[in-house]
């Protein structure tokens, strides 16, 4: 069921505006209508509430503060830290100020205490990371010329230069030596070695006096001089290598220490930071909603929706704080306004888990039928028909029960086990119908306990492997009935939303379908042949209505619907596949000795159960959502999103999911680090 909403209009004198907004924010039950947009589109007696200059200045200031706070939180690298709700609420309350200016200076204060320190640490961290990265670039080549460097000794009067030459120019080394000898008057030495397939390294040592000519010569040649990291340019190469390796060992240690410091800082401040960002976000949200309100010369106007049951509370609180100055009135919704109403679910606990499933596919429009209870009915039926095995059903139900007991607190487990619990029960029920218990264990080849009874000409239990064609017809028939039901619901939806064309379209389609069945049945002699003529008449009527309601495209709908009906054959196919696999598993016990056979049989059954949980689920959902709901459900509604505080009092109610997700948004701040 969809929660009944009441549209309200709140009017009051302009001076009380901000107080009313704060009150609404803390009550957290009003879904605000964007009057700003509405006044732009339609002609209304109210104007859009303007944000005055000081507001936008405040807003900017708060935004800047928020950026800074989030920057600090990010530098903390504190991903995944969770805080209890009470801790967050407490920190929140400590920071909260009602007026934006006071809030800004408060936050500024707090930030000031921690910002420079975290900036310092963060910059230091960056520096260290860069240094490490840079050193890593130099390391390989220094390592390779290390053995060379050890071979030479540089005393004070000599200079050494390390060269890299491309392997193919190695011959030039000898020429180089000759040249150098000439320049330095033989006061030089060259040692060389290959560093990899393409390069050779050499170290040249020469008397410092000849430094200039030697360098000039070298710069002309097709050789590269090995450059040392910044700051180490004057060191001999082996010393340089030592230093580099030492640094590379130390930097990670330094880095760890800096990160430790950051962690300490974050331990002290993270909660406050998160609270500040929550508060800033809320304040900004308040300021952001201002353009959504309306105003006249002396009054402000706020329109929105509340669940009907919350209306008294809203009226009461407003009256308590503002007396008769501010008036809350319920407004009648016009026809086309009904569609804009936000949508919230109100379902009993059996149906509730399915809300989550349907959420993936869209939100129903207000005023239309809530499809979720239907899903709660049909999904287990489809699932049960496909799996159709007492044993498998039992396993599923028992597993659900166990999981529920073990993980009492997890919401997700509750939802999943509830859905599968119902599905499993349906599987058991249909298993009785098909006489399957872990396949054909009860059947003729094994325990042989089945008593066949004959009801209405049908032999029960129905063996799936033998009764393939009847089963096919049954499932397709089920499909036809579901489609028909869907179309009838579609007609009702169309009536509810007062759309005549749609009503005719769906109605016409339904009629056409029925007519086609009558005709086919008459031709196959299931119905008396005399039914053919009225069948054709009905067909024509149906098609006419269809085209009137939906245009020529409506005719294509017929084929689409036939396709949908046939789609239900998958129930039979999947079910049969499962049954046969179970039969094969049992057959294992015959082939290769009982003991081994049983083990293999159990393994195969386990596999079959796992497949049964996945595959029929998806297909049952698909049949539900795409085929069945496609015939009548209308999505396009928007969810009920009340104007509320991040850690407001609405946590426990049915809107709590939204509040939780808002909370999750703030913890997302700290989780952002993980994703990047």
């Amino acid at each position: 069921m969809l929660v009944t909403m009441a549209k309200v209009e709140i009017v009051g004198p302009k001076p009380s505006f901000y107080d009313v907004v704060a009150l609404l924010h803390s009550l957290g039950s009003l879904h605000i209508e964007d009057l700003g947009k509405k006044t732009a589109e339609e002609d209304l007696p109210v104007k859009k509430m303007e944000v005055d200059g000081s507001q936008s200045a405040q807003k900017e200031q708060l935004q800047q503060l928020l950026t800074r706070v989030t920057g600090i939180v990010q530098a903390f690298h504190a991903s995944g830290r969770e805080f209890s709700k009470q801790a967050r609420q407490k920190a929140y309350d400590e920071v909260w100020r009602d007026d934006a200016v006071g809030l800004a200076s408060e936050v500024e204060d707090l930030i000031g205490q921690v910002e420079s320190r975290s900036a310092e640490l963060s910059a230091h961290e960056n520096e260290l990371e860069s240094e490490l990265s840079l050193l890593t670039k130099y390391e390989p080549i220094l390592q390779k010329i290390q053995p060379l460097a050890k071979q030479i000794v540089t005393t004070g009067g000599f200079e050494s230069v390390a060269l890299l030459i491309e392997r193919r120019y190695k011959a030039a080394l000898d020429e180089l030596k000759a040249e150098l000898n000439k320049i330095t008057k033989k006061q030089c030495e060259i040692v060389s070695t290959d560093v990899d397939e393409k390069t050779t390294a050499a170290i040249v040592v020469f008397n410092k006096i000849y430094s200039e000519p030697v360098h000039r010569l070298l710069s002309m040649e097709n050789v590269n001089q090995v450059r040392l990291p910044p700051g180490l340019a004057d060191q001999p190469f082996d010393v340089a290598y030592q230093i580099v390796t030492e640094r590379m060992k130390h930097v990670p240690e330094d880095l760890a220490k800096v990160r430790e410091d950051i962690k300490n800082l974050s331990d002290e401040w993270l909660l406050k930071m998160i609270a500040m960002s929550d508060v800033l976000n809320d304040k900004l949200q308040e300021l952001d909603t201002i353009p959504m309100f309306g105003q006249t010369e002396y009054a402000f106007v706020i329109t929105g929706w509340v669940p009907k049951k919350d209306l008294p509370e809203l009226e009461g609180s407003v009256k308590a704080e503002f007396g008769d100055d501010v008036v809350v009135t319920q407004v009648e919704m016009s026809e086309h306004e009904i569609h804009d109403t936000p949508v919230a679910y109100k379902n009993n606990s059996i149906v509730k888990p399915f809300e989550l499933v349907y959420r993936f596919f869209g939100t129903p429009r207000y005023g239309t039928i809530d499809p979720v209870p239907l899903m709660a009915l049909f999904y287990p039926i489809f699932f049960g028909l496909i799996v159709g095995d007492i044993g498998y059903g039992l396993v599923i139900v028992i597993t659900c029960a166990l999981l529920r007991l073990k993980y009492k607190s997890s919401e997700m487990i509750k939802v999943v086990t509830q859905i599968f619990g119902m599905a499993g029960t349906a599987a058991i029920a249909f298993g009785l119908l098909f006489g399957e218990f872990f396949g054909n264990v009860l059947g003729g080849e094994y325990l042989n306990v089945i008593q066949h009874i004959n009801i209405l000409g049908v032999e029960l239990p129905m063996n799936r492997e033998e009764a393939m064609m009847p089963l096919l017809f049954i499932t397709v028939g089920l499909g036809a009935m579901t489609m028909l039901l869907g179309l009838l619901l579609g007609v009702w939806n169309a009536i509810l939303s007062k759309s005549k064309k749609h009503a005719f379209e769906k109605g016409g389609l339904a009629l056409t379908l029925v007519a086609i069945f009558i005709v086919i049945a008459a031709m196959a002699s299931v119905l008396p042949p005399v039914a053919t003529t009225p069948g054709f008449v009905l067909l024509v009527v149906g098609i006419v209505l269809l085209i009137y309601g939906g245009g020529l495209m409506g005719v294509f709908e017929i084929f689409g619907t036939m396709g949908n009906i046939l789609s239900f054959a998958r129930i039979m196919a999947l079910g049969l596949a499962g049954a046969i696999l179970a039969g094969v598993a049992n057959g294992m016990t015959k082939g290769m000795g009982f003991a081994i056979g049983i083990i293999i049989a159990l393994l195969l059954h386990a596999l079959n159960i796992i497949i049964a949980v996945v595959s029929p689920s998806i297909h049952a959902i698909r049949l539900n959502v795409i085929e069945f709901f496609g015939k009548f459900a209308e999505t396009g509604g928007h969810e009920y999103e009340p104007f509320h505080r991040t850690t407001g009092p609405r946590d426990a109610s049915s809107n709590g999911e939204k509040a939780d997700s808002e909370e999750a948004d703030s913890t997302k701040l700290v989780e952002q680090e993980v994703s990047s």
């Binding site: 900017e60 800074r68 920057g71």
Partner: protein
Amino acid sequence: MVQVAVQDYGYGNARIRAMRQRLLDNTFYEGLVELDDFDRMVQLLQQTPYKDEIQEAVLRKSGAAAIDEALKLNLARTFRRVLSFMSPEGQALVSTLLGRWDIHNIKTILRGIHMHIDPEEIIDSLLPAGELEEIELDELAKQEDIKGCIDLLATWGISYGRPLTKEVATYAETRDLSFLELALDKYYFTYSLRRVRMLGPNGQKAQDILQTQIDIVNLLTLLRLQKSKQPEEEAKRLYVPYGREIRFEQFLALAQKDDVDDLIDGLLTTTYGRILEGAMMKYIEHGSLAALERALETHFVQKGAGMSKGDPLGVGIAIGYIWAKHNEIVNLRIIVKGRTIGMPEKRIREELILV
């Protein structure tokens, strides 16, 4: 890191398409250009995918410097991410194409050192879009002379060092940077074309881009040769082979034309002729070749970004995204830098390239 089958572009393309939707559009640029306050710009960028990097940068710097750092960080990270979810073949192709920006950066650094420009300024005009990281580029820019820079490349084992080393003697003699730049270009194109030629139909797309690049390099050379005294000799030396449309003979012939009009007329048989014709007005107005160069650049960027149209299961989507993203960053930098030096809004708008 995701392990993807050698040929499967499906995963990467799906992600890249989603990322492409988040690229900024013209309305955003408009909004940004109108702001005159850097803090406001930071706020505006907070609402974009640049949010994370802006928040990081704001802690360490402020105003325009923060935005610049954020942009560079975002670019490097985005490209790394794109490479990470491509198939091995895709990675090979895209990283080969990214070399374009490595070459561009190295040339910028060499030019900066040659003209004795302050390292900080050189670093300011670099964008770490290629395989060379920001740290490496910064260090290269800080070298004292050209030889030092080239030696550093060799020290780090970066292959671009080799062609540069060969030409360094000639540069030392002639003090003409074009020797080094030409060596770099030729090396890059030969190596890249060889690499992509072996990689099937996707390689074709990469080859197309590379060859268009070669054409543009040659065209830019032609435009500069207008001022030369010995066009024919220099043309012979400066020609880069394997271009898409401009062959050697045509290149030589065009090098001998006396003025730009004739040059463009000679080019009308190619796609570039019409493009340059379109920019003639601007050229005449400002009297500088920059307008023509810009037209070519715009054409190239649009061509690159347009690679996304076509095979949805090929490398085109990745190439298109890379080009579009790089262009976006360049546009943002233009806006920020324009504001910093006080460029009028109208002028800033003209400088933006919109794909």
